[in-house]
């Protein structure tokens, strides 16, 4: 629906394809508060994750339509942002006229949002969002999958064409990794790009995925237009090997949960659904071997084996880190001398989830800039 230029609706977000409704746990600001872009305005909870919703526009929160403690469908009108000069009558009219858009048929949504492609390294799952603009490829970290970009992919897709992939050994891609190391995974990224006919792209990598992206740059610089490295591996030697070893070894909910707490500054984000989803992945045949081989090649004696900071210094690079990263220290950002570096307070290793709006702005500005 078209909104008047000076009125911005605050909507129930859609995080991931299975989300149809969300619980408004609380408003984080009161009616009448002046809001800037990136301000946290409400706390939303789904069966999978809880997160603050950040403002994508500025204005005064003129009306809280939704009630804390209630559940609303995706895209429901939660509140209204507008300038002071907008009349109350206009705001009432806007609220009255607002209709929740019809949700897509679930099965259609599922098939259109996850896709599979046969590449030279085997079957790769990916998600594609956005039609126009520069091509972006999102690469998750060790043990992760494309849903690690749950809070990023749609925001980036507003101005770019975004592919998020599952690396081999991860998510729902092929479980066998031909050459379980950075080169092998970089090769998988290239195989994916060539299969879906991407000549060159802006690469965005998280953690190990950042090291994979950097490897693509160092081996085949022509394929990459810019790099965005989030909580990156490959920029320094230190790594929390207890996290890596614990993640690989954990077979039960009880073992995995404390390991996952290392990923977030806010431990309450690690809920049962997140642990259960990861266990489902870890229990697939072949995943244990893939992770074990990968870990033993990438992290030797508790240290990162490959440091790529020097080899990518010529490329336009953004480095983003959470100040409270307990897996890879944010101090590694210092090794990227020519890059634009942003360290975000109050976020951990999964900074792209914990401070999604901020990270999305930084990445978009970097890619479009």
């Amino acid at each position: 629906m078209k909104s008047p230029a000076n009125i911005t609706p605050v909507l129930m977000p859609k995080w991931g394809l299975s989300m149809t409704k969300g619980l408004l746990s609380d408003w984080l600001v009161e009616e009448g508060t002046r809001i800037s872009i990136g301000d946290e305005i409400m706390e939303v909870e789904t069966d999978k994750i809880a997160s603050a919703v950040e403002a994508t526009d500025e204005g005064v929160l003129r009306r809280c339509v939704a009630v804390a403690g209630e559940t609303y469908p995706v895209q429901a009108l939660m509140g209204v942002l507008a300038a002071e000069e907008v009349g109350d009558a206009d705001i009432d009219a806007f609220i009255d006229a607002y209709e929740v858009p019809q949700a897509e048929d679930d099965e259609d949504a599922e098939t259109s949002q996850y896709e599979f492609v046969e590449t030279s390294v085997g079957r790769i799952r990916y998600a594609l969002r956005g039609d126009e603009g520069p091509v972006v490829v999102l690469i998750h970290g060790f043990g992760g999958d494309l849903d690690n970009w749950l809070f990023n992919i749609d925001a980036l897709a507003e101005k770019t064409r975004v592919y998020a992939i599952d690396l081999p050994g991860h998510g729902q891609s092929i479980k066998q990794i031909e050459d379980p190391g950075l080169s092998g995974l970089a090769n998988a990224v290239r195989a994916f790009m060539s299969t879906v006919e991407i000549d060159s792209a802006h690469l965005v990598g998280h953690s190990m995925g950042a090291a994979v992206a950097a490897t693509v740059v160092s081996e085949t610089p022509d394929l990459v237009q810019s790099l965005s490295l989030v909580s990156a591996a490959g920029l320094g030697v230190e790594i929390n090997s207890a996290y890596i070893d614990g993640f690989v070894a954990a077979v039960s909910r009880r073992e995995l949960k404390p390991v996952l707490l290392n990923l977030f500054a806010d431990p309450s984000l690690v809920n049962r659904a997140m642990v259960d989803e990861l266990l489902k992945y870890k229990r697939l045949d072949g995943v244990g071997d893939a992770l074990t081989h990968l870990a033993s090649n990438l992290f030797v004696d508790g240290r990162q084996k490959t440091i790529l900071a020097e080899q990518i210094s010529d490329l336009r690079t953004l480095v983003v880190w959470g100040s409270e990263d307990r897996v890879i220290p944010a101090s590694h950002a210092i090794n990227m001398k020519s890059a634009k570096v942003e360290v975000i307070e109050g976020a951990g290793h999964m900074v792209q989830m914990e401070k999604a709006s901020r990270v999305n702005h930084l990445i978009l500005a970097h890619i479009l800039g």
Partner: protein, 335 residues
């Protein structure tokens, strides 16, 4: 890649994948191919309810239709397991346990112990359990407590297709005798199941729903009744934590204790008869281990102490329903 799959098809897929992966896996039982004398073509029955349909066409002689003698073929499966095969024997109905019980509880369950760990018996015995199928008193029982009582046996009773596939693969790969119980009224129930093989470890209960007021422990079909009850109660502001045991031996006591320490209230649901049931066992353990956490007496919701009736109206009354679970939960809240 996950897709919707029924409980029955998940069992079939687990058997198929393990037979493809491991040439020592064999499947035997009454009519599992197509019945004695059938040509064993691809369109053969594949068991009384078609669970093993299509496997013969793929794996041929590694499936064996046996004579109608449970004592013979369960004994043969146990013996083959000690000699290097991984047999999956289908007992059809767990109600037939009586005629082959010695082979199970006095032989298979004892070998590892009596041979000082030198013997392994990697046999899986699949069997249908539970009521609601209008199959009368000799084909409808929930005899899980009897086998859970025996040390040396592992006992699985899944509530959904995802768990069924992972737990069956785990059962086949396990080096001890496993009794794998399949509720016949769940065969058509569908959930998302990955195409790939995967395992679910024994002794890890699944939390189906988080709640802070009352803990409901269940397994098999009763997990669905418990979830139904929890949804009804949530409408009145009562938040139940629903725990699916998944395996009865080993049993995940730790998860139940953790939950009861939070809620202080326990309702155990069991389709079995009440005396010496899984519900009685869990109530006793929690009363002993977590007495200080309990705010009310633990409640059991079970079938009555009687055979399963053949009358449809009586059978429906016999099997515990959401209404009884809601009442039991309310009782813990009155205290």
């Amino acid at each position: 890649m996950a897709r919707n799959l029924s409980f029955k098809d998940a069992i079939n897929e687990a058997l198929d994948q393990e037979m493809s992966r491991d040439p020592t896996v064999i499947v035997m039982g009454e009519d599992i191919v197509g019945g004695t004398g059938s040509p064993g073509e691809a369109d053969a029955w594949g068991g009384v309810l078609g669970v093993t349909k299509g496997l013969y066409a793929k794996h041929g002689d590694r499936l064996m239709d046996t004579p109608l003698s449970e004592s013979a073929y369960i004994g043969a499966a146990v013996g083959a397991a000690t000699c290097g095969l991984r047999p999956v024997a289908e007992l059809m109905f767990l109600d037939f346990l009586g005629v082959c019980f010695d082979q199970i509880f006095n032989q298979a369950a004892k070998f590892r112990y009596m041979f000082g760990g030198k013997a392994e018996t990697p046999v899986t015995i699949r069997a249908m359990v539970g009521g609601g199928f209008r199959a009368a008193a000799q084909h409808s029982q929930m005899l899980t407590p009897i086998i859970t009582h025996i040390p040396g046996l592992k006992v699985v009773c899944a509530s959904n297709a995802y768990d069924a596939k992972g737990l069956l693969i785990q059962s086949i790969r396990d080096n001890d005798p496993v009794i794998f119980c399949e509720h016949k009224n769940l065969y058509a129930h569908e959930v998302d199941v990955p195409e790939e093989s995967y395992t679910i470890p024994f002794g890890e209960a699944n939390i189906m729903r988080d709640g802070s007021d009352v803990t409901i422990v269940a397994y098999g079909l009763m997990v669905h009744r418990a979830s139904e009850a929890a949804a009804l109660l949530a409408g009145d502001g009562v938040e139940c934590e629903v725990i699916d045991l998944r395996t009865l031996s080993p049993i995940d006591t730790e998860t139940i204790i953790e939950s009861v320490e939070k809620t202080g209230r326990l309702v155990c649901v069991d389709e079995a008869n009440p005396r010496c049931s899984i519900a009685a066992d869990v109530c006793a353990t929690i009363s002993q281990e977590s007495f200080a956490s309990l705010k009310a007496a633990p409640q059991m919701v079970t079938a009555p102490h009687s055979p399963v009736p053949f009358s449809p109206a009586l059978e429906d009354l016999y099997i515990p329903g959401a209404g009884q679970i809601v009442d039991a939960v309310r009782k813990t809240l009155e205290a």
